[in-house]
């Protein structure tokens, strides 16, 4: 969140042919107007960032641009050729557009190799697929893009989110397209892979390719983009060569923010709420800490150092191999989430992957929020709907979910940021005193992120104990009273906070690491 001079590269000489041109595009889903008279243009040989809050229409525009869905009205052209909805992979390839979608489009039950070679597998006699050649060929593709840490024989569902994202990106890059569209490519990536991706984006641009990407991390837009287009409410509001973060946020949200992070130093810390001794299991190799009431304890480090296992183990979603946990001074055994919810002061877990781990999209906001606390408001198996309605309404208003829309609406119609708030609301209703927040701001827009920071600080102020992990180290650096840096399943460093500077956490993450 540096406020310094933007380092956006100067515009390159104007080219006559546009790589991508969309004008007057309308698109509605059910009753929701996702795009409204939207226009967009990008040139060959540029990196063009598409900025906007969740629900601004970026993802819909991308789907229209690559022919996945059709526009209700308006025209889309790729290198002067009109695009309609295309299904046939061959037709898509002719179009020269390759897209990495935000909702990962890898097929979970297929191996990495099958995913990469789905349309063009190595074939032998009679045109039959040579299954034995799939993995070597796919490994070759991965190596060509410098990815040697993913085995192409792995079933995709078994990969970490970060590695899945890398494979998804390689799938897109490997088609050597004329237009590359990357929807939130870095949301799941650790810093090292972000640099890797940036290198490839620049290489493609220099080769004359049109690279379009979206990101909620302004620093990446500043670093990478030659031009920025800002969307709000389904419409383009600006296209600029240079744009400061403050301007961008104002353009995106229509409101302006002072001070990105709330001040947490003044929050009083109380007794021990969650004490962990030598916890091990999965990637965890023995972690100990003491989390007090009113404290926001950050868990940082490079991706895949055991952060996820720590959160899941504490919530009972996976078993601990060793170690002891006490909640509010009482030793507890957590074997399943139910134990965590009931343990002493109560433990609640808000996950990163809302759709996989938290939300039921077709159900209403109210049902989703009330789900974890049904038994509290029911007797003899019947739910007291009145009590439920009032409890849900008050928390929904408190979190500003859906801008005050009816809580009977399906969660699936909400934007990503609002969906994340619904998950948080559910766990807040449990009145648990220990909150495990795992990368809750992932893929969330600036305004909602800001709301979430304020909410986290406010919860700490009310005496909740908060364990906080984020893939954006800056958040950990600015929002936490104390930061634990994990490396290879152990605590490599403990930094007093707010650290303020993400670089210090990154430095502690890689110091003495075997191959860094």
């Amino acid at each position: 969140m540096t406020q310094g001079t933007p380092s956006v590269a100067p515009t390159r000489s104007a080219t006559e042919v546009l790589a991508v041109r969309a004008s007057g595009v309308d698109r509605a889903f059910g009753g929701v107007q996702a795009l409204r008279d939207a226009s967009f243009a990008a040139r060959p040989g540029e990196i063009h960032a598409l900025a906007g809050e969740n629900g601004a229409g970026k993802s819909t525009l991308i789907k229209v641009l690559c022919g996945l869905i059709s526009a209700d009205r308006g025209t889309v052209e790729i290198f002067g050729q009109a695009v309609r909805r295309v299904v046939e992979p061959a037709a898509r390839r002719r179009l020269g557009v390759a897209t990495a979608f935000q909702e990962l489009s890898l097929l979970p039950d297929l191996t990495v190799a099958e995913n990469l070679l789905l349309h063009d597998p190595p074939r032998g006699r009679l045109g039959l697929v040579r299954r034995g050649r799939l993995a070597p060929v796919a490994d070759g593709i991965l190596r060509r893009y410098g990815v040697d840490y993913v085995d192409s024989r792995t079933v995709t569902a078994d990969l970490s989110v970060a590695h899945r994202q890398v494979v998804e990106l390689v799938r897109v890059l490997a088609t050597e397209p004329k237009v590359v569209i990357l929807d939130e490519p870095t949301a799941a990536l650790p810093a090292e892979q972000v640099r890797w991706l940036a290198g490839h984006m620049r290489r493609l641009r220099d080769a004359g390719c049109c690279v379009i990407f979206t990101s909620h991390r302004w620093r990446e837009i500043e670093d990478l983009a030659d031009r920025v287009t800002v969307f709000r409410n389904g419409t383009r509001v600006a296209t600029r060569d240079r744009l400061s973060e403050a301007e961008a946020v104002t353009l995106m949200s229509g409101r302006s923010f002072a001070g990105a992070y709330p001040d947490v130093t003044a929050i009083a810390r109380g007794d021990s709420a969650l004490r962990v001794d030598d916890l091990a299991g999965g990637r965890l190799r023995g972690v100990s800490f003491d989390l007090r009431r009113g404290e926001i304890l950050g868990v940082g480090g490079l991706a895949g150092q055991g952060q996820r296992d720590l959160f899941l183990t504490l919530f009972g979603a996976r078993r601990a191999a060793a170690g002891a946990v006490s909640v509010g001074g009482e030793a507890v055994t957590i074997r399943r989430p139910k134990d965590a919810i009931r343990a002493g002061l109560g433990i609640a877990y808000v996950p990163e992957d809302r759709k996989a781990e938290g939300l039921f999209l077709p159900l209403s906001i109210r049902d989703n929020i009330a789900l974890a606390t049904l038994s509290r408001r029911s007797s003899y198996g019947f739910v007291a709907r009145g009590a439920e309605r009032s409890a849900v309404s008050s928390i929904a208003a408190q979190l500003r979910i859906g801008g005050g829309r009816a809580t009977s609406q399906a969660v699936g119609t909400l934007s990503g940021g609002n969906q994340q708030k619904v998950v948080m609301a559910r766990w807040l209703l449990t009145e648990a005193d220990v909150l495990l927040l795992y990368d809750v701001t992932r893929g969330v827009d600036a305004a909602t992120k800001h709301d979430i920071y304020e909410l986290v600080a406010e919860l700490a102020g009310r005496g909740k104990a908060i364990l906080f992990h984020s893939s954006e180290t800056e958040e950990i650096a600015n929002l936490c009273h104390r930061v634990l840096v994990l490396r290879e399943g152990r605590i490599a460093a403990e930094l007093p906070g707010p650290v303020g500077d993400a670089e210090r956490i990154v430095a502690a993450s890689i110091k003495e690491a075997p191959d860094a």
Partner: protein
Amino acid sequence: MRDLLRGMSLGYAVLAATAVTYVTVYTVNLGRFPTTFDYLSILNTTLPLVFVAIGQSLVVLTGGIDLSVGGIVSLCVAVTATRVTGEGAGPFLWILVVLALGAACGAVNGLIVAKGRIAPILTTLATLSIFTGLALRVLPVPGGSVPQGVRMLLSNPNVPTGLIWLGAAVAGWLVLRRTRFGMRIYAVGSDETSARAVGVPTAAVKLGVYALSGLCSALAAVFYVSTTTAGDANAGAPFILTSIASVVVGGVAFSGGRGSALGAVAGAVALALVIDVLFFAGIDPLYQALFQGLFLVVAVLLGTVAALATRRRRADV
């Protein structure tokens, strides 16, 4: 080889356990080992289910379900029993007609599911009634026959021709698995939205699997008539549940995307063996369905426990 093992360990394990039980029960009851004749009769009576189960597994792999297999088998049995008659090439041409008819019935399912966007269970429930109704129109009372030539070729009680057809069915699957279409079946079942996003023609894939399922049902019908030497317009009904059971025992995930038709083949043979086990154990045929159901529940439970154990082991590495 990895292909053979992937996702079908449950079917194999259950088949092995059932086979051992069969041989034990048979030997204890009759005081001798089963003869070639016994194996042949098992093979010939199981083949129809094997075919239906392969077709069903293709549909289930895409995340769908095909209840209409019962109707297609009935219809094709009726047509086979009434039309596949006489000498020379005539009956064999009619067999081809029956196969085309089955595939066409399946294609109708596929069209409704893929283009009409109607849930597979509703679509095939409706077409099940339609095909069964047509079967009754063709063959109102059980009857018909099958030429000796056809019988000798398909389900010869003395020569293991059935083994060739079983081999052909397995080979057919292995070839299918090695086509782009085969890969796409898994893609659609794994995550249809994603599959569409990466350019898999999901509608065509669905149309394909339902048509293939119809074709498999037609094959089953031809073998059924050949083995029983007569037709019945209700012959297909039992195949609905047994084919689904075979697929489940065979370790094919009901959500789609995981498993193999070979597992379903193993499941089908195991299910057929269970009936023989019950027979030799002297259990009243009235309880056959009850024990088959129990078998299904136990097999699937064991499979779930095994899957959980593997997942845990993998997670702890």
